[in-house]
């Protein structure tokens, strides 16, 4: 089982509750904006504490009764909608940030290969503010891969891009799914995008309604 998630969290007036268990490959978390999809990713990454529930990825429990791994020990490769690169570090230093922190046995992809795979060799000396949206997103994906993650969380990675860039990043994500064989949880509100990429689909609105009937 790649993702085994059953969490609930109250945020202000909103009740976020979702439950799903999916096999290998790319799981799309699909639903309208504001449905709490990003909050679900934050709970899996350890950035937001669920009120109750459990989270396990690839058989390892990240959160349950009495278990709450801090984010730095969950080994999630989190790619944010806005890339979220560190503005005071050049691209190379951004890429190295997680790589340097990962245990040698946890790294499964090298710097050269990552840079090559994503086609970002010419960007290494640049500052994040000088990158286009597509470039920044590729660097963010590289930064996540180099931290030696056991799974990827992708939060609308195409949302801030124009359509040629979208196609380009979508190809990259397809290759990560097929060549690197990493469980991916992919958040989107775009049905076409999801249908092209996803092996499994979870509709988050449905999940919330299910929970409220219990």
């Amino acid at each position: 089982m790649s993702f085994d998630v059953d969490v609930a969290r109250r945020l202000g007036a909103q009740n976020i509750a979702v439950r799903f268990a999916t096999g290998p490959g790319l799981t799309a978390l699909f639903g309208p904006s504001g449905a709490g999809k990003s909050s679900v990713l934050n709970m899996i990454a350890g950035l937001l504490r669920p009120d109750r529930g459990h989270i396990a990825v690839d058989g390892e429990t990240l959160f349950a009764d009495g278990v709450d791994l801090p984010p730095e020990r969950r080994r999630a490769g989190y790619v944010f909608q806005d890339a979220r690169l560190f503005p005071h570090r050049r691209v190379a230093q951004n890429l190295r940030y997680g790589e340097r922190l990962a245990d040698e046995t946890q790294r499964w992809i090298g710097f050269e290969r990552t840079v090559d795979f994503l086609g970002i060799a010419h960007l290494l000396d640049r500052w994040p503010r000088s990158l286009s949206g597509g470039e920044a997103q590729r660097v963010a994906i590289g930064r996540a891969l180099l931290s030696g993650p056991r799974f990827l969380l992708m939060d609308e990675p195409l949302a801030s891009l124009d359509s040629p860039r979208r196609a380009e990043i979508m190809t990259v994500i397809g290759r990560i799914r097929d060549e690197l064989r990493l469980p991916i949880l992919y958040v989107s509100h775009d049905r076409a995008e999801v249908e092209r990429l996803a092996d499994h689909m979870v509709e988050i609105n449905q999940a919330i309604e299910d929970a409220s009937h219990q």
Partner: protein, 232 residues
């Protein structure tokens, strides 16, 4: 152009200010962090206390320091018993007065900078494997650097200009507590010392302008770097 005594005054002023700012910086940072990030009862009270030196007459601060650091005072008695030292009438006392007066300005500058740090970047660093302390030193601290530098410059400028609390607390002793503003004041009391007053005043203006220019240059540099932390 300047006499040896005047150079000594400049040297003393710089020593007092540098020691005051260096000693205050960690305290100011800790308070700024607490006020920017902390959620605890009494936060408003801490905020108000930090700002007191900004709004109280400096002579009142000097008087409070005199009570606290006097030989029988709560802090002064302790210093006397344990270390056999007293800061009254000493340059170290002048540094303490300058530090207290500079504290609110420094806390404000650093706090503004901490508040502009995007906390989502800290979350991103956590997911990449960094523990809370590493996130602090590799992300939060460097991103609040503009505010820290601004605080140092503001603190130095405020310390060099400090007068009321200093003269109340440690008096006006040549070579020990007579810093630049006190020297100007003393010279004004002596008939026929216009030349000395002018020279000392020009030094004060030059030092203040240098501090302003330095802060402006830093602000520009960081604006250019697109780290939104410039605070001056």
């Amino acid at each position: 152009m300047l006499s040896a005594a005047e150079w000594a005054i400049i040297g003393l002023s710089l020593k007092v200010s540098l020691v005051a700012v260096a000693a205050t910086l960690p305290i100011a940072f800790a308070l700024a962090w607490l006020l920017a990030r902390g959620r605890f009862p009494g936060r408003m009270l801490v905020d108000a206390l930090v700002h007191l030196p900004l709004v109280l007459p400096p002579v009142v601060i000097g008087w409070l320091l005199l009570i606290a650091f006097g030989r029988t005072g709560p802090v002064g008695g302790w210093l006397q018993d344990w270390f056999g030292v007293s800061v009254i009438f000493r340059w170290t006392g002048a540094a303490i007065a300058a530090a207290v007066m500079a504290l609110p300005l420094m806390v404000r500058a650093i706090r503004l900078s901490i508040e502009t740090v995007d906390r989502r970047l800290e979350g991103a660093a956590r997911t990449l494997g960094a523990g809370p302390w590493r996130v602090f030193f590799s992300i939060s601290l460097p991103l609040s650097l503009p505010g820290i530098l601004a605080a140092v410059i503001l603190g130095l400028a405020r310390s060099i200009g400090e007068f009321g609390a200093t003269i109340t607390f440690v008096s006006n002793i040549p070579g020990e507590t007579r810093t630049l503003p006190l020297a100007i004041y003393s010279a004004l009391q002596v008939p026929g010392s216009d030349g000395e007053v002018t020279r000392l005043a020009v030094i004060a203006i030059v030092l203040s302008l240098a501090a302003l220019l330095a802060s402006e240059m830093l602000a520009r540099r960081f604006r250019h770097d697109d780290r939104t932390g410039h605070v001056l």
